[in-house]
């Protein structure tokens, strides 16, 4: 060890000249730069991601419509196509005339009348207007003329929200998927919330500290980290094969997602229960309440905001899940919204998946638009959860 006094350079400021110190400070600045770069990269990715999705999807919210006159006569009662004159048949979506026979059947008074309405143009014509997709010259001429004359207009695509899936991209919408999502999430909530809260209450308030309790806790933590596709396999083997729940029904999907969401709700409920300070419980005990009364009347009300926050977050996660639902078959083509929990249904993420797998290019903007809707809903849910937590977070 050197006992000499420190070198004769200015003792506290001499480091500017010391090469070693300079090296150390350079390393410090470099490291700091790396850390900031990492955060900036993440930020850049987020920006790039949202820009990409929005730029690809926003076009789907507007589409081109053509004004047609539908002729309800005997010919069109048999073959709907004849309700529209042949010139426009080339331009308007095939789906516009499909419903004519049925409409006449249901309401015979329509016979002999005509109806002028705006219907969507064919998918490739819409793509031509939006992205300059190739069309035959004669068709290009026709539609350009119709646009100039005002027979074709660019209107908000409300059909996107009111119609279900379709083999014709111009008619495809998220309605059936949205309804399916609500059914599925409804069942998920109905199953996972009571079971989850009851489990958490048991583990936090009633369970003795023995092997069984520890096993349950370890179990729950493990379940929370099991890949979602495994839950799909479970749903297939248990609910569909063993219990005979109809494949691709909302019930099967809801139960499968319910099992997946269960650990999340249990863990967050436990945290909320734990945050309630013991003196509250002790006070209630001292008044002669039984343990259940303490929980029901004192602990649960106090922890309710936290429980709700955790449930909302769990639901948001369930809403975005696709893989397990694919396994139990919820990727069929579902044009009509389901009317019960036993019928075939699809959910919004699965709809996005099926559209993304379509080779027809017109579905790309629909997929991106569907993603925008999904992300908007998720963002709202998460924001609601955060607001809930902040508003009701009590400082004990």
């Amino acid at each position: 060890m050197t006992d000499q006094p420190k070198p004769n350079t200015p003792r506290l400021t001499g480091s500017v000249n010391d090469p070693r110190m300079r090296r150390r400070y350079r390393a410090e600045r470099r490291f700091h730069a790396y850390c900031i770069t990492a955060v900036l990269i993440a930020l850049a990715i987020i920006v790039a991601f949202f820009t990409d999705i929005i730029s690809q999807g926003y076009t789907a919210f507007w589409h081109h419509e053509v004004q047609v006159t539908l002729d309800y006569n005997e010919r069109s009662e048999r073959i709907g196509r004849f309700a529209m004159d042949s010139e426009l048949r080339e331009v308007a979506s095939r789906g516009a005339t499909r419903s004519v026979p049925r409409a006449i059947d249901r309401n015979p008074d329509l016979l002999g009348t005509t109806e002028t309405t705006w219907v969507p143009v064919k998918g490739d014509i819409d793509q031509y207007f939006k992205f300059d997709r190739a069309l035959s010259d004669s068709l290009k001429e026709k539609v350009d003329r119709l646009l100039a004359e005002g027979e074709i207009r660019n209107a908000f695509n409300w059909r996107f929200f009111t119609t279900g899936d379709s083999k014709l991209p111009e008619l495809a919408g998220i309605f059936s998927a949205a309804v399916g999502t609500m059914y599925v999430l409804g069942i998920t909530l109905l199953f996972a919330f009571p079971v989850g809260v009851m489990s958490a209450v048991y583990l936090e308030e009633f369970a003795p500290d023995n092997k069984l309790t520890q096993t349950i806790e370890v179990n729950i933590n493990n379940l929370a980290a099991v890949p979602s596709i495994i839950f799909g396999l479970l749903g297939l083997a248990l609910f569909i094969n063993f219990f005979g729940v109809p494949r691709s029904s909302a019930l099967a999907g809801g139960l499968t997602l319910g099992l997946m969401t269960l650990p999340i709700i249990i863990i967050s409920t436990r945290a909320a229960l734990r945050a309630v300070p013991d003196p509250i419980r002790l006070g209630a005990f001292a008044m002669g309440c039984s343990r259940w009364q303490v929980v029901r009347d004192h602990v649960l009300p106090a922890s309710l905001p936290g429980i709700l926050t955790g449930t909302i977050i769990g639901l948001a996660q369930a809403m975005g899940e696709t893989a397990p639902l694919i396994i139990i078959g919820m990727i069929a083509y579902i044009p009509e919204a389901p009317t019960g929990i036993f019928q075939s249904a699809t959910v919004l993420p699965a709809q996005i998946y099926t559209w993304a797998s379509e080779p027809e290019g017109a579905y790309i903007e629909k997929t991106a638009a569907g993603i925008m809707v999904l992300l908007a809903v998720l963002l709202t849910l998460n924001a609601a959860a955060v607001l809930l937590r902040r508003k009701f977070e009590r400082r004990w």
Binding site: A27, E28, F31, H32, Y34, C35, I36, A38, V39, A42, I46, F49, D52, Q56, P194, M198, S199, V201, Y202, L203, F206, A207, I216, N219, N221, N222, L223, A225, V226, P227, S228, I229, I230, L233, L234, L236, A237, F242, G244, L259, S290, W292, M319, G320, E321, T322, A323, I326, I327, G329, I341, F342, I352, Y353, I364, I371, L374, L378, L379, N382
Partner: protein
């Protein structure tokens, strides 16, 4: 009569009986009290007692009968089961009402029942795990009756057979008459490749972001950066899959072309990178928690010796946080291994054993999906292969999770 209808009818029967039981039981208790006799519990609780006396046996009978039906041990028509349950309900109600007397400890019975009910709910999670294990093993066993375990684990050719490939639209690729081969090595190679690429992306960005947020950032910046990273965690995987397939893959193909390399449109690099992006918030959030829980006194000790902040971080903080960081890493790996949508949408379907990430490779999860969404019958080895793959996946991720938990526990012991 369908299951749904039966359930609804049962409820339609039990609910009015429940109301009746509550009303009658309470009334009996009230009259007893009015006569001046002290009862153990409150009248309301005697009401609930009657309800419970009716409901539990009835539901028990219904569930038992249904279970036996499902297992195939007996076959009873749904109407009969319904009838049996309702009869049991009525009988239970009768007994319950009769039992209402001053010495009946209704409150204690109720408390016990509630306790058992809660325990039952908690046990559902154990039953879920058991169900997962049993169902997967059961179906996987059926697979392994046809395909040897050794071939499955070590075989390097995965070719489930003509009919399967036909269903996936690629029937011409396997010669006629070639049998199904189930060597899973190329699948696991693809999974590991994707995972490796993902961790190369996620670990540096995640860890350095965490260090920035906990060591360098002011509280205000931290308050912005942390939620921002959480956004990445909230994006559904199907959306990431779309992003990978539609945006990232063409970029990679273009960049590769710029360097004169040939990249497939199902290359494994694209889903790998996007999966890494998805995992960033896992790593950063867990690491941030871990680094924050390292006591300030350790840092002060280093600063007092004249160290710069980066020196302290590198040689004191990170080594101290290492168990937690490794745990976060393992959890990230576990997540990547089991991820499905991103690879289904952006990776390939062709089993391909290679080191080149620009080629198309397929993964375990992709094949699980393909095996179950094809047109084959449920009992064919092609379909059952999904469960065999699922079994291995489950075991591996479970092991990683357990190691991760043990590490965190040991870390907490040190610093709590």
């Amino acid at each position: 009569m369908g299951v749904g209808e039966t359930t609804l009818l049962l409820l339609a029967g039990l609910i009015p009986l429940g109301y009746a039981g509550f009303y009658l039981g309470r009334r009996k208790a009230l009259t007893t009290v009015a006569d001046g006799v002290r009862m153990h519990s409150r009248p309301q609780q005697y009401g609930w007692y009657s309800v419970v006396a009716m409901g539990i046996p009835a539901i028990g009978v219904a569930m038992a009968a249904s279970l036996l039906n499902l297992l195939g041990w007996i076959t009873l028509p749904a109407e009969l089961v319904l009838l049996m349950s309702l009869v049991t309900a009525a009988a239970g109600l009768g007994f319950g009402l009769k039992a209402v007397r001053p010495s009946l400890r209704a409150r204690n019975t109720l408390d016990n029942i509630i306790r058992w009910l809660l325990l039952g709910a908690a046990l559902i999670s154990i039953m879920t795990t058991i169900a997962i294990v049993l169902s997967i093993i059961f179906e996987a066993m059926r697979f392994f009756r046809e395909v040897s375990v050794w071939e499955f684990i070590t075989g390097t050719v995965w070719s489930p057979g003509n009919s399967f490939l036909e269903a996936a639209g690629r029937g011409g690729e396997v010669a006629e008459g070639e049998g199904a081969v189930f060597g899973s090595v190329p699948l696991f190679a693809g999974t590991f490749m994707v995972t490796a690429i993902a961790m190369v992306v996620a670990l540096p960005i995640g860890l350095l972001s965490a260090i920035f947020m906990s060591e360098y950032a002011s509280p205000k910046i931290r308050g912005i950066a942390k939620p921002m990273l959480e956004v990445l965690a909230g994006i559904p995987t199907v959306v990431y899959g779309f992003f990978a397939a539609i945006t990232v893959t063409p970029v990679i193909v273009d960049i590769a072309g710029f360097f004169g390399l040939d990249a497939s449109y199902s290359n494994i690099l694209s889903p790998g990178i996007v999966m890494g992006i998805m995992i960033i918030p896992f790593i950063s959030s867990l690491s941030d928690d871990v680094i924050n829980s390292i006591p300030q006194s350790l840092r002060e000790g280093a600063f007092a010796l004249g160290t710069t902040r980066s020196e302290t971080i590198r040689s004191v903080v990170v080594p101290a946080a290492l168990p937690g960081v490794i745990s976060a890493f393992l959890l990230g790996v576990s997540r990547a291994l089991g991820e499905t949508m991103i690879v289904v949408m952006a990776a390939g379907v062709r089993p391909n054993l290679t080191w080149n990430p620009l080629e198309d490779m397929t993964t375990v999860t992709v094949n699980i999906v393909m095996a179950l969404t094809g047109d084959q019958s449920f009992d064919s080895p092609q379909t059952l292969s999904a469960f065999a793959l699922g079994l291995v996946l489950f075991i591996v991720t479970l092991t990683l999770n357990i190691i991760s938990t043990i590490l965190v526990r040991r870390f907490k012991q040190e610093y709590d």
